[in-house]
Protein backbone atom coordinates (compact mmCIF):
# COMPACT_ATOMS: atom_id res chain seq x y z
CA UNK A 1 0.00 0.00 0.00
CA UNK A 2 1.85 3.05 -1.17
CA UNK A 3 0.31 6.47 -0.89
CA UNK A 4 1.50 9.95 -1.57
CA UNK A 5 2.99 11.71 1.46
CA UNK A 6 0.24 14.35 1.53
CA UNK A 7 -2.41 11.67 1.70
CA UNK A 8 -0.53 9.99 4.52
CA UNK A 9 -0.34 13.17 6.51
CA UNK A 10 -4.06 13.73 6.08
CA UNK A 11 -4.85 10.20 7.26
CA UNK A 12 -2.59 10.72 10.26
CA UNK A 13 -4.32 13.98 11.11
CA UNK A 14 -7.75 12.42 10.72
CA UNK A 15 -6.84 9.60 13.06
CA UNK A 16 -5.60 12.04 15.66
CA UNK A 17 -8.79 14.09 15.31
CA UNK A 18 -10.88 10.97 15.83
CA UNK A 19 -8.87 10.21 18.94
CA UNK A 20 -9.42 13.72 20.28
CA UNK A 21 -13.18 13.49 19.86
CA UNK A 22 -12.97 10.11 21.51
CA UNK A 23 -11.23 11.69 24.48
CA UNK A 24 -13.62 14.56 25.27
CA UNK A 25 -14.80 12.94 28.51
CA UNK A 26 -11.21 12.34 29.56
CA UNK A 27 -10.54 16.04 28.97
CA UNK A 28 -13.42 16.75 31.32
CA UNK A 29 -11.86 14.65 34.03
CA UNK A 30 -8.65 16.63 33.85
CA UNK A 31 -9.98 20.18 33.62
CA UNK A 32 -12.48 19.67 36.38
CA UNK A 33 -9.79 18.58 38.77
CA UNK A 34 -8.79 22.25 38.91
CA UNK A 35 -12.16 23.88 39.45
CA UNK A 36 -14.02 24.92 42.56
CA UNK A 37 -17.63 23.86 42.90
CA UNK A 38 -18.83 27.29 41.83
CA UNK A 39 -16.61 27.31 38.77
CA UNK A 40 -17.64 23.81 37.87
CA UNK A 41 -21.29 24.79 38.12
CA UNK A 42 -20.68 27.74 35.84
CA UNK A 43 -19.30 25.67 33.00
CA UNK A 44 -18.14 22.13 33.24
CA UNK A 45 -16.54 22.15 29.80
CA UNK A 46 -14.49 25.32 30.11
CA UNK A 47 -10.78 25.43 30.67
CA UNK A 48 -10.01 26.19 34.33
CA UNK A 49 -9.52 29.88 35.06
CA UNK A 50 -6.41 29.31 37.09
CA UNK A 51 -4.34 26.31 37.87
CA UNK A 52 -4.42 25.28 41.47
CA UNK A 53 -3.13 22.08 42.92
CA UNK A 54 -5.40 22.54 45.91
CA UNK A 55 -7.72 19.68 44.98
CA UNK A 56 -4.90 17.36 44.06
CA UNK A 57 -3.38 18.00 47.45
CA UNK A 58 -6.72 17.68 49.19
CA UNK A 59 -7.48 14.43 47.44
CA UNK A 60 -4.08 12.93 48.22
CA UNK A 61 -4.43 13.84 51.84
CA UNK A 62 -7.99 12.73 52.34
CA UNK A 63 -7.43 9.45 50.55
CA UNK A 64 -4.13 8.77 52.29
CA UNK A 65 -2.97 8.20 48.74
CA UNK A 66 0.43 6.65 49.33
CA UNK A 67 -1.00 3.98 51.59
CA UNK A 68 -3.81 3.22 49.13
CA UNK A 69 -1.35 3.25 46.26
CA UNK A 70 0.88 0.74 48.03
CA UNK A 71 -2.06 -1.57 48.76
CA UNK A 72 -3.32 -1.37 45.18
CA UNK A 73 0.13 -2.18 43.84
CA UNK A 74 0.52 -5.18 46.13
CA UNK A 75 -2.88 -6.60 45.30
CA UNK A 76 -2.66 -5.96 41.57
CA UNK A 77 0.87 -7.25 41.04
CA UNK A 78 0.53 -10.42 43.06
CA UNK A 79 -2.97 -11.29 41.88
CA UNK A 80 -2.21 -10.69 38.21
CA UNK A 81 1.04 -12.63 38.50
CA UNK A 82 -0.72 -15.65 39.94
CA UNK A 83 -3.60 -15.44 37.48
CA UNK A 84 -1.29 -15.30 34.49
CA UNK A 85 0.96 -18.17 35.54
CA UNK A 86 -1.78 -20.50 36.70
CA UNK A 87 -4.20 -19.83 33.88
CA UNK A 88 -1.52 -20.22 31.21
CA UNK A 89 -0.63 -23.61 32.71
CA UNK A 90 -4.24 -24.66 32.98
CA UNK A 91 -5.19 -23.48 29.51
CA UNK A 92 -2.26 -25.26 27.89
CA UNK A 93 -3.12 -28.48 29.69
CA UNK A 94 -6.74 -28.19 28.58
CA UNK A 95 -5.76 -27.73 24.96
CA UNK A 96 -3.14 -30.46 24.90
CA UNK A 97 -5.11 -33.12 26.71
CA UNK A 98 -8.48 -32.42 25.27
CA UNK A 99 -10.39 -35.09 27.22
CA UNK A 100 -13.86 -34.98 28.71
CA UNK A 101 -12.67 -33.59 32.01
CA UNK A 102 -10.82 -30.75 30.29
CA UNK A 103 -13.85 -29.90 28.23
CA UNK A 104 -16.09 -29.95 31.26
CA UNK A 105 -13.79 -27.78 33.37
CA UNK A 106 -13.19 -25.38 30.51
CA UNK A 107 -16.93 -25.06 29.93
CA UNK A 108 -17.44 -24.44 33.63
CA UNK A 109 -14.85 -21.67 33.65
CA UNK A 110 -16.42 -19.97 30.67
CA UNK A 111 -19.98 -20.31 31.93
CA UNK A 112 -19.21 -18.77 35.28
CA UNK A 113 -17.90 -15.64 33.59
CA UNK A 114 -21.56 -14.94 32.91
CA UNK A 115 -22.65 -14.95 36.55
CA UNK A 116 -23.71 -11.50 37.71
CA UNK A 117 -21.37 -10.76 40.61
CA UNK A 118 -24.10 -9.38 42.85
CA UNK A 119 -25.68 -12.79 43.15
CA UNK A 120 -22.67 -14.49 44.67
CA UNK A 121 -21.28 -11.71 46.79
CA UNK A 122 -23.26 -12.46 49.92
CA UNK A 123 -22.70 -16.26 49.91
CA UNK A 124 -19.03 -15.64 49.11
CA UNK A 125 -18.55 -13.32 52.07
CA UNK A 126 -20.23 -15.79 54.39
CA UNK A 127 -18.08 -18.60 53.07
CA UNK A 128 -14.89 -16.54 53.44
CA UNK A 129 -15.85 -15.83 57.02
CA UNK A 130 -16.31 -19.55 57.73
CA UNK A 131 -13.03 -20.37 56.02
CA UNK A 132 -11.25 -17.72 58.02
CA UNK A 133 -12.55 -19.20 61.24
CA UNK A 134 -11.84 -22.76 60.20
CA UNK A 135 -8.27 -22.23 59.07
CA UNK A 136 -7.50 -19.45 61.47
CA UNK A 137 -6.32 -17.18 58.63
CA UNK A 138 -8.14 -13.95 57.93
CA UNK A 139 -9.68 -14.03 54.45
CA UNK A 140 -11.63 -10.87 55.15
CA UNK A 141 -10.08 -7.47 55.65
CA UNK A 142 -6.75 -8.80 54.46
CA UNK A 143 -4.94 -8.15 51.19
CA UNK A 144 -4.05 -11.84 50.95
CA UNK A 145 -7.70 -12.86 51.08
CA UNK A 146 -8.55 -10.32 48.41
CA UNK A 147 -5.78 -11.62 46.16
CA UNK A 148 -7.07 -15.14 46.65
CA UNK A 149 -10.53 -14.05 45.55
CA UNK A 150 -9.20 -12.22 42.51
CA UNK A 151 -7.42 -15.35 41.35
CA UNK A 152 -10.70 -17.25 41.60
CA UNK A 153 -12.59 -14.61 39.66
CA UNK A 154 -9.86 -14.00 37.11
CA UNK A 155 -9.43 -17.69 36.30
CA UNK A 156 -12.25 -17.74 33.74
CA UNK A 157 -11.02 -14.97 31.52
CA UNK A 158 -7.36 -15.91 31.85
CA UNK A 159 -7.92 -19.50 30.78
CA UNK A 160 -10.31 -18.37 28.07
CA UNK A 161 -7.80 -16.01 26.45
CA UNK A 162 -4.84 -18.38 26.70
CA UNK A 163 -6.94 -21.29 25.50
CA UNK A 164 -7.98 -19.45 22.35
CA UNK A 165 -4.44 -18.34 21.60
CA UNK A 166 -2.79 -21.71 22.22
CA UNK A 167 -5.34 -23.50 20.10
CA UNK A 168 -4.87 -21.22 17.13
CA UNK A 169 -1.25 -20.08 17.31
CA UNK A 170 0.97 -22.58 19.12
CA UNK A 171 2.09 -25.40 16.83
CA UNK A 172 2.14 -28.88 18.35
CA UNK A 173 5.12 -29.82 16.19
CA UNK A 174 7.38 -27.53 18.17
CA UNK A 175 6.42 -29.26 21.41
CA UNK A 176 6.86 -32.72 19.95
CA UNK A 177 10.35 -31.79 18.85
CA UNK A 178 11.16 -30.65 22.38
CA UNK A 179 9.92 -33.90 23.86
CA UNK A 180 12.17 -35.84 21.53
CA UNK A 181 15.02 -33.65 22.78
CA UNK A 182 14.24 -34.97 26.27
CA UNK A 183 12.20 -32.21 27.91
CA UNK A 184 9.75 -33.26 30.59
CA UNK A 185 6.33 -31.65 30.70
CA UNK A 186 7.34 -29.00 33.21
CA UNK A 187 10.40 -27.92 31.22
CA UNK A 188 8.50 -28.16 27.98
CA UNK A 189 5.91 -25.70 29.20
CA UNK A 190 8.22 -23.15 30.74
CA UNK A 191 11.06 -23.30 28.22
CA UNK A 192 9.19 -23.75 24.97
CA UNK A 193 5.51 -22.91 25.30
CA UNK A 194 5.36 -20.03 27.74
CA UNK A 195 7.82 -17.81 25.80
CA UNK A 196 5.68 -18.19 22.68
CA UNK A 197 2.67 -16.97 24.65
CA UNK A 198 4.28 -13.59 25.22
CA UNK A 199 1.88 -11.41 23.28
CA UNK A 200 -1.26 -12.98 24.75
CA UNK A 201 0.36 -12.95 28.18
CA UNK A 202 0.87 -9.22 27.90
CA UNK A 203 -2.74 -8.81 26.78
CA UNK A 204 -4.01 -10.79 29.75
CA UNK A 205 -1.77 -8.79 32.05
CA UNK A 206 -3.07 -5.49 30.69
CA UNK A 207 -6.73 -6.49 30.94
CA UNK A 208 -6.39 -7.98 34.42
CA UNK A 209 -4.30 -5.10 35.74
CA UNK A 210 -6.94 -2.61 34.68
CA UNK A 211 -9.77 -4.71 36.06
CA UNK A 212 -8.16 -5.19 39.46
CA UNK A 213 -6.73 -1.68 39.65
CA UNK A 214 -10.17 -0.15 39.11
CA UNK A 215 -12.31 -2.71 40.87
CA UNK A 216 -14.49 -1.32 43.60
CA UNK A 217 -17.19 -3.78 44.59
CA UNK A 218 -15.11 -6.72 45.74
CA UNK A 219 -12.64 -4.74 47.87
CA UNK A 220 -15.52 -2.72 49.28
CA UNK A 221 -16.98 -5.93 50.65
CA UNK A 222 -13.77 -7.47 51.92
CA UNK A 223 -11.57 -4.62 53.08
CA UNK A 224 -12.83 -2.52 55.94
CA UNK A 225 -9.97 -1.03 57.91
CA UNK A 226 -8.21 2.11 56.72
CA UNK A 227 -4.79 0.50 56.47
CA UNK A 228 -6.04 -1.94 53.84
CA UNK A 229 -7.89 0.44 51.51
CA UNK A 230 -7.11 0.27 47.83
CA UNK A 231 -7.34 3.34 45.60
CA UNK A 232 -10.92 2.91 44.34
CA UNK A 233 -12.10 2.42 47.92
CA UNK A 234 -10.28 5.49 49.11
CA UNK A 235 -11.83 7.41 46.22
CA UNK A 236 -15.33 6.50 47.31
CA UNK A 237 -14.92 9.05 50.10
CA UNK A 238 -15.71 11.74 47.56
CA UNK A 239 -19.02 10.19 46.66
CA UNK A 240 -21.64 11.37 49.10
CA UNK A 241 -25.19 10.19 48.92
CA UNK A 242 -26.47 13.06 46.81
CA UNK A 243 -23.45 14.92 45.68
CA UNK A 244 -19.96 14.22 44.53
CA UNK A 245 -16.90 16.26 45.39
CA UNK A 246 -16.08 16.52 41.72
CA UNK A 247 -12.79 18.35 41.89
CA UNK A 248 -11.34 15.94 44.43
CA UNK A 249 -12.76 12.89 42.67
CA UNK A 250 -11.36 14.02 39.32
CA UNK A 251 -7.97 14.85 40.81
CA UNK A 252 -7.88 11.45 42.45
CA UNK A 253 -8.94 9.79 39.24
CA UNK A 254 -6.15 11.52 37.34
CA UNK A 255 -3.62 10.19 39.83
CA UNK A 256 -5.16 6.75 39.58
CA UNK A 257 -5.07 6.38 35.83
CA UNK A 258 -1.62 7.82 35.16
CA UNK A 259 0.24 4.74 36.48
CA UNK A 260 -1.95 2.51 34.35
CA UNK A 261 -1.30 4.57 31.24
CA UNK A 262 2.44 4.37 31.84
CA UNK A 263 2.14 0.69 32.46
CA UNK A 264 0.19 0.28 29.26
CA UNK A 265 2.79 2.21 27.27
CA UNK A 266 5.50 -0.06 28.61
CA UNK A 267 3.53 -3.19 27.79
CA UNK A 268 2.49 -2.11 24.35
CA UNK A 269 6.05 -2.43 23.13
CA UNK A 270 6.15 -6.00 24.31
CA UNK A 271 3.13 -7.01 22.31
CA UNK A 272 4.94 -5.92 19.18
CA UNK A 273 8.33 -7.22 20.30
CA UNK A 274 6.90 -10.59 21.24
CA UNK A 275 5.50 -11.02 17.80
CA UNK A 276 8.67 -9.84 16.12
CA UNK A 277 10.69 -12.36 18.12
CA UNK A 278 8.23 -15.07 17.19
CA UNK A 279 8.51 -14.16 13.55
CA UNK A 280 12.27 -14.44 13.65
CA UNK A 281 12.06 -17.91 15.16
CA UNK A 282 9.37 -19.04 12.76
Amino acid sequence: MKRKPVGKIIVNILVILLCCVWLVPVYMVIVNAFKSRAELYENIFAFPKHFTLEYFQGALKKMDFLMAFKNSIIVTVIAVGIIVLLSAMTAWMFVRSNNKLSKFLYGLLILTMLIPFQTIMMPLMQEMNQFGKFFGIPFKDSLGGLIFMYVGFGAGMGVFLFHGFIKSSVPVSLEEAAIIDGCNTWQLFWRIVFPILKSITVTVIILDVIWIWNDYLLPSLTLTSIKNKTIPLAMSLFFGQYTIEWNMAMAALTFTIIPVIIFYLLCQKHIIKGVAAGAVKG
Binding site: M1, V26, F45, T90, R96, I115, T119, P123, G164, F165
Partner: protein, 289 residues
Protein backbone atom coordinates in the same frame (compact mmCIF):
# COMPACT_ATOMS: atom_id res chain seq x y z
CA UNK B 1 0.43 -35.86 22.67
CA UNK B 2 0.13 -38.01 25.78
CA UNK B 3 0.38 -36.32 29.14
CA UNK B 4 0.57 -38.14 32.45
CA UNK B 5 -2.17 -37.65 35.01
CA UNK B 6 0.23 -36.32 37.58
CA UNK B 7 1.28 -33.47 35.33
CA UNK B 8 -2.31 -32.80 34.44
CA UNK B 9 -3.23 -32.40 38.10
CA UNK B 10 -0.17 -30.30 38.87
CA UNK B 11 -0.93 -27.89 36.05
CA UNK B 12 -4.65 -27.49 36.54
CA UNK B 13 -5.48 -28.28 40.16
CA UNK B 14 -4.22 -25.12 41.89
CA UNK B 15 -6.29 -22.81 39.73
CA UNK B 16 -9.34 -25.05 39.64
CA UNK B 17 -9.42 -25.43 43.42
CA UNK B 18 -9.27 -21.69 43.97
CA UNK B 19 -11.87 -21.18 41.29
CA UNK B 20 -14.25 -23.68 42.91
CA UNK B 21 -13.89 -22.09 46.32
CA UNK B 22 -14.43 -18.57 45.06
CA UNK B 23 -17.02 -19.03 42.34
CA UNK B 24 -18.66 -22.45 42.24
CA UNK B 25 -19.46 -22.99 45.92
CA UNK B 26 -20.98 -19.52 46.44
CA UNK B 27 -22.90 -19.90 43.22
CA UNK B 28 -24.58 -23.08 44.41
CA UNK B 29 -25.21 -21.60 47.84
CA UNK B 30 -26.85 -18.70 46.03
CA UNK B 31 -28.95 -21.15 44.04
CA UNK B 32 -30.15 -22.63 47.31
CA UNK B 33 -31.23 -19.18 48.45
CA UNK B 34 -33.46 -18.86 45.40
CA UNK B 35 -35.77 -21.42 47.02
CA UNK B 36 -36.39 -19.43 50.18
CA UNK B 37 -38.07 -16.22 51.16
CA UNK B 38 -35.45 -14.20 53.00
CA UNK B 39 -34.36 -10.59 53.51
CA UNK B 40 -30.63 -11.28 53.19
CA UNK B 41 -29.57 -10.99 56.82
CA UNK B 42 -27.97 -14.06 58.35
CA UNK B 43 -30.06 -13.85 61.51
CA UNK B 44 -33.39 -13.47 59.77
CA UNK B 45 -35.58 -16.47 59.19
CA UNK B 46 -35.37 -18.22 55.85
CA UNK B 47 -38.73 -19.68 54.86
CA UNK B 48 -38.61 -22.46 52.32
CA UNK B 49 -40.97 -21.63 49.48
CA UNK B 50 -39.90 -24.14 46.86
CA UNK B 51 -40.11 -22.93 43.30
CA UNK B 52 -42.63 -20.20 43.96
CA UNK B 53 -39.94 -17.53 43.54
CA UNK B 54 -39.43 -18.84 40.03
CA UNK B 55 -43.15 -18.92 39.34
CA UNK B 56 -43.41 -15.27 40.36
CA UNK B 57 -40.90 -14.23 37.70
CA UNK B 58 -43.25 -15.01 34.86
CA UNK B 59 -45.78 -12.48 36.04
CA UNK B 60 -43.20 -9.81 36.88
CA UNK B 61 -43.75 -7.41 34.01
CA UNK B 62 -40.99 -5.04 34.99
CA UNK B 63 -38.45 -7.85 35.02
CA UNK B 64 -39.61 -9.34 31.74
CA UNK B 65 -39.53 -5.95 30.02
CA UNK B 66 -36.05 -5.28 31.29
CA UNK B 67 -35.00 -8.70 30.06
CA UNK B 68 -36.21 -7.92 26.54
CA UNK B 69 -34.63 -4.46 26.75
CA UNK B 70 -31.29 -5.85 27.91
CA UNK B 71 -31.27 -8.37 25.08
CA UNK B 72 -31.96 -5.65 22.53
CA UNK B 73 -29.32 -3.41 24.07
CA UNK B 74 -26.82 -6.26 23.99
CA UNK B 75 -27.42 -7.20 20.38
CA UNK B 76 -27.02 -3.63 19.15
CA UNK B 77 -24.04 -2.82 21.35
CA UNK B 78 -22.17 -6.04 20.57
CA UNK B 79 -22.31 -5.32 16.85
CA UNK B 80 -21.25 -1.68 17.15
CA UNK B 81 -18.50 -2.35 19.67
CA UNK B 82 -16.95 -5.12 17.66
CA UNK B 83 -17.08 -3.36 14.33
CA UNK B 84 -15.56 -0.26 15.87
CA UNK B 85 -12.95 -2.16 17.89
CA UNK B 86 -11.89 -4.13 14.86
CA UNK B 87 -11.67 -0.95 12.79
CA UNK B 88 -9.54 0.68 15.47
CA UNK B 89 -7.31 -2.36 15.73
CA UNK B 90 -6.77 -2.51 11.99
CA UNK B 91 -6.09 1.22 11.93
CA UNK B 92 -3.46 1.15 14.65
CA UNK B 93 -1.68 -1.94 13.33
CA UNK B 94 -1.05 -0.33 9.93
CA UNK B 95 2.12 1.61 9.27
CA UNK B 96 0.62 4.94 10.29
CA UNK B 97 3.03 7.27 12.07
CA UNK B 98 0.58 8.08 14.82
CA UNK B 99 -0.42 4.48 15.48
CA UNK B 100 1.10 4.20 18.93
CA UNK B 101 -0.36 7.45 20.14
CA UNK B 102 -3.73 6.53 18.67
CA UNK B 103 -3.64 3.14 20.31
CA UNK B 104 -3.18 4.63 23.73
CA UNK B 105 -5.74 7.35 23.21
CA UNK B 106 -8.41 4.99 22.01
CA UNK B 107 -7.76 2.71 24.91
CA UNK B 108 -7.93 5.44 27.55
CA UNK B 109 -11.71 5.39 28.16
CA UNK B 110 -11.49 1.92 29.58
CA UNK B 111 -9.28 3.23 32.35
CA UNK B 112 -12.08 5.32 33.76
CA UNK B 113 -14.22 3.10 35.92
CA UNK B 114 -17.87 2.63 35.01
CA UNK B 115 -19.42 4.74 37.75
CA UNK B 116 -17.45 7.93 37.16
CA UNK B 117 -17.78 7.47 33.46
CA UNK B 118 -21.56 7.51 33.67
CA UNK B 119 -21.55 10.72 35.69
CA UNK B 120 -19.28 12.45 33.21
CA UNK B 121 -21.37 11.39 30.26
CA UNK B 122 -24.43 12.77 32.00
CA UNK B 123 -22.93 16.18 31.39
CA UNK B 124 -22.00 15.45 27.80
CA UNK B 125 -25.36 13.98 26.82
CA UNK B 126 -27.38 16.30 29.00
CA UNK B 127 -25.86 19.77 29.32
CA UNK B 128 -23.61 19.74 26.26
CA UNK B 129 -26.31 18.38 24.00
CA UNK B 130 -28.86 20.97 25.00
CA UNK B 131 -26.27 23.75 24.76
CA UNK B 132 -25.39 22.71 21.22
CA UNK B 133 -29.10 22.52 20.45
CA UNK B 134 -29.64 26.07 21.70
CA UNK B 135 -26.72 27.33 19.67
CA UNK B 136 -27.43 25.61 16.38
CA UNK B 137 -31.20 25.44 16.54
CA UNK B 138 -31.12 21.75 15.65
CA UNK B 139 -33.19 20.93 18.69
CA UNK B 140 -34.56 17.71 17.28
CA UNK B 141 -31.16 16.01 17.52
CA UNK B 142 -29.42 18.09 20.14
CA UNK B 143 -31.43 18.03 23.32
CA UNK B 144 -31.03 16.39 26.70
CA UNK B 145 -31.01 12.76 25.67
CA UNK B 146 -31.42 11.50 29.18
CA UNK B 147 -35.00 12.74 29.64
CA UNK B 148 -36.26 11.07 26.51
CA UNK B 149 -37.01 7.37 26.74
CA UNK B 150 -35.68 6.35 23.34
CA UNK B 151 -32.65 8.58 23.43
CA UNK B 152 -31.76 7.54 26.99
CA UNK B 153 -31.59 4.00 25.68
CA UNK B 154 -29.36 5.21 22.83
CA UNK B 155 -27.25 7.00 25.41
CA UNK B 156 -26.63 3.68 27.14
CA UNK B 157 -25.42 2.25 23.85
CA UNK B 158 -23.18 5.21 23.08
CA UNK B 159 -21.49 5.21 26.47
CA UNK B 160 -21.03 1.45 26.62
CA UNK B 161 -19.56 1.49 23.15
CA UNK B 162 -17.24 4.30 24.06
CA UNK B 163 -16.02 2.36 27.05
CA UNK B 164 -15.73 -1.11 25.57
CA UNK B 165 -14.41 -0.46 22.06
CA UNK B 166 -10.91 0.37 23.28
CA UNK B 167 -10.90 -2.69 25.50
CA UNK B 168 -11.85 -5.06 22.71
CA UNK B 169 -9.36 -3.30 20.47
CA UNK B 170 -6.60 -4.67 22.69
CA UNK B 171 -7.71 -8.22 22.09
CA UNK B 172 -8.01 -7.68 18.35
CA UNK B 173 -4.57 -6.09 18.27
CA UNK B 174 -3.10 -9.18 19.90
CA UNK B 175 -4.73 -11.29 17.20
CA UNK B 176 -3.63 -9.05 14.32
CA UNK B 177 -0.07 -8.76 15.56
CA UNK B 178 0.15 -12.53 15.72
CA UNK B 179 -0.35 -12.85 11.97
CA UNK B 180 3.08 -13.34 10.52
CA UNK B 181 4.34 -10.64 8.18
CA UNK B 182 5.14 -13.24 5.54
CA UNK B 183 1.48 -13.99 5.00
CA UNK B 184 0.59 -10.35 4.54
CA UNK B 185 3.56 -9.68 2.29
CA UNK B 186 2.70 -12.70 0.19
CA UNK B 187 -0.81 -11.36 -0.23
CA UNK B 188 0.51 -7.96 -1.22
CA UNK B 189 2.88 -9.50 -3.74
CA UNK B 190 -0.13 -11.27 -5.21
CA UNK B 191 -1.67 -7.84 -5.68
CA UNK B 192 -4.34 -8.01 -2.96
CA UNK B 193 -5.48 -4.53 -1.89
CA UNK B 194 -6.22 -3.33 1.60
CA UNK B 195 -9.77 -4.66 1.70
CA UNK B 196 -8.99 -8.01 0.07
CA UNK B 197 -6.16 -8.59 2.54
CA UNK B 198 -8.39 -7.67 5.43
CA UNK B 199 -11.36 -9.82 4.48
CA UNK B 200 -9.64 -12.81 2.91
CA UNK B 201 -6.47 -13.04 4.95
CA UNK B 202 -6.70 -11.20 8.24
CA UNK B 203 -10.27 -11.91 9.31
CA UNK B 204 -10.07 -15.71 8.99
CA UNK B 205 -6.76 -15.69 10.86
CA UNK B 206 -8.13 -13.75 13.81
CA UNK B 207 -11.29 -15.83 14.16
CA UNK B 208 -10.24 -16.84 17.68
CA UNK B 209 -9.96 -13.17 18.67
CA UNK B 210 -13.40 -12.59 17.22
CA UNK B 211 -14.82 -15.44 19.28
CA UNK B 212 -13.20 -14.06 22.38
CA UNK B 213 -14.36 -10.50 21.76
CA UNK B 214 -17.91 -11.50 20.93
CA UNK B 215 -18.07 -13.54 24.07
CA UNK B 216 -16.62 -10.81 26.25
CA UNK B 217 -18.88 -8.11 24.83
CA UNK B 218 -21.93 -10.33 25.08
CA UNK B 219 -21.32 -11.10 28.72
CA UNK B 220 -20.30 -7.53 29.58
CA UNK B 221 -23.37 -6.08 27.88
CA UNK B 222 -25.77 -8.52 29.45
CA UNK B 223 -24.32 -7.86 32.89
CA UNK B 224 -24.08 -4.09 32.46
CA UNK B 225 -24.62 -2.33 35.77
CA UNK B 226 -22.25 0.53 36.61
CA UNK B 227 -23.04 2.63 33.55
CA UNK B 228 -26.73 1.96 34.00
CA UNK B 229 -26.75 3.20 37.58
CA UNK B 230 -24.64 6.27 37.04
CA UNK B 231 -25.83 7.39 33.61
CA UNK B 232 -29.59 6.98 33.61
CA UNK B 233 -30.35 5.35 36.95
CA UNK B 234 -32.81 3.25 34.96
CA UNK B 235 -34.92 6.28 34.07
CA UNK B 236 -36.80 8.08 32.74
CA UNK B 237 -39.65 6.06 34.13
CA UNK B 238 -37.70 2.85 34.11
CA UNK B 239 -37.23 2.92 30.37
CA UNK B 240 -33.54 2.02 30.61
CA UNK B 241 -33.47 -0.35 33.57
CA UNK B 242 -31.34 -3.35 32.66
CA UNK B 243 -31.59 -6.77 34.26
CA UNK B 244 -28.59 -6.47 36.59
CA UNK B 245 -30.01 -3.30 38.05
CA UNK B 246 -33.43 -4.88 38.42
CA UNK B 247 -31.90 -7.81 40.30
CA UNK B 248 -29.73 -5.56 42.41
CA UNK B 249 -32.74 -3.47 43.45
CA UNK B 250 -34.75 -6.58 44.26
CA UNK B 251 -32.00 -7.90 46.51
CA UNK B 252 -30.75 -4.75 48.20
CA UNK B 253 -33.38 -2.04 47.91
CA UNK B 254 -36.44 -4.19 48.37
CA UNK B 255 -34.63 -6.82 50.46
CA UNK B 256 -36.18 -9.73 48.58
CA UNK B 257 -33.06 -11.82 48.60
CA UNK B 258 -34.57 -15.15 47.56
CA UNK B 259 -36.62 -13.70 44.74
CA UNK B 260 -33.66 -11.68 43.47
CA UNK B 261 -31.53 -14.83 43.42
CA UNK B 262 -34.20 -16.68 41.47
CA UNK B 263 -34.24 -13.88 38.88
CA UNK B 264 -30.46 -14.07 38.71
CA UNK B 265 -30.51 -17.80 38.06
CA UNK B 266 -33.06 -17.43 35.27
CA UNK B 267 -31.03 -14.60 33.80
CA UNK B 268 -27.87 -16.66 34.03
CA UNK B 269 -29.45 -19.58 32.18
CA UNK B 270 -30.63 -17.28 29.40
CA UNK B 271 -27.31 -15.56 28.79
CA UNK B 272 -25.48 -18.87 29.10
CA UNK B 273 -27.63 -20.31 26.32
CA UNK B 274 -27.14 -17.30 24.07
CA UNK B 275 -23.39 -17.06 24.52
CA UNK B 276 -22.87 -20.80 24.16
CA UNK B 277 -24.65 -20.67 20.83
CA UNK B 278 -22.38 -17.81 19.82
CA UNK B 279 -19.20 -19.60 20.90
CA UNK B 280 -20.32 -22.71 19.05
CA UNK B 281 -21.01 -20.80 15.84
CA UNK B 282 -17.85 -18.72 15.71
CA UNK B 283 -15.70 -21.37 17.37
CA UNK B 284 -16.39 -23.78 14.48
CA UNK B 285 -14.93 -21.27 12.08
CA UNK B 286 -11.62 -21.04 13.92
CA UNK B 287 -8.51 -22.20 12.13
CA UNK B 288 -6.33 -24.46 14.22
CA UNK B 289 -2.57 -24.10 14.05
Amino acid sequence: MKIKKGWYALFTAPLMIMFCIIVIIPFFTGMGYSLVSWDGLAKSEKVFVGLSNYAKIFSDKQFLTSLVRTTLFTLITVVIVNVLALAFAVLVTTKLKVRNVARTMLFLPYLIGGLILGYIWQYVLGDAMSTIGDMTGLTNIFFNWLVNKKMAFCAMIVVSTWQMAGYMMIVYIAGLEAISDDVIEAAEVDGAGFWRTLINIKLPLIMSSITICLFLTLSNCFKIYDVNVSLTGGGPNNSTEMVSMNIFNEIFTKSHFGYGQAKAIVFFVIIALITLIQVKITGDKEVSA
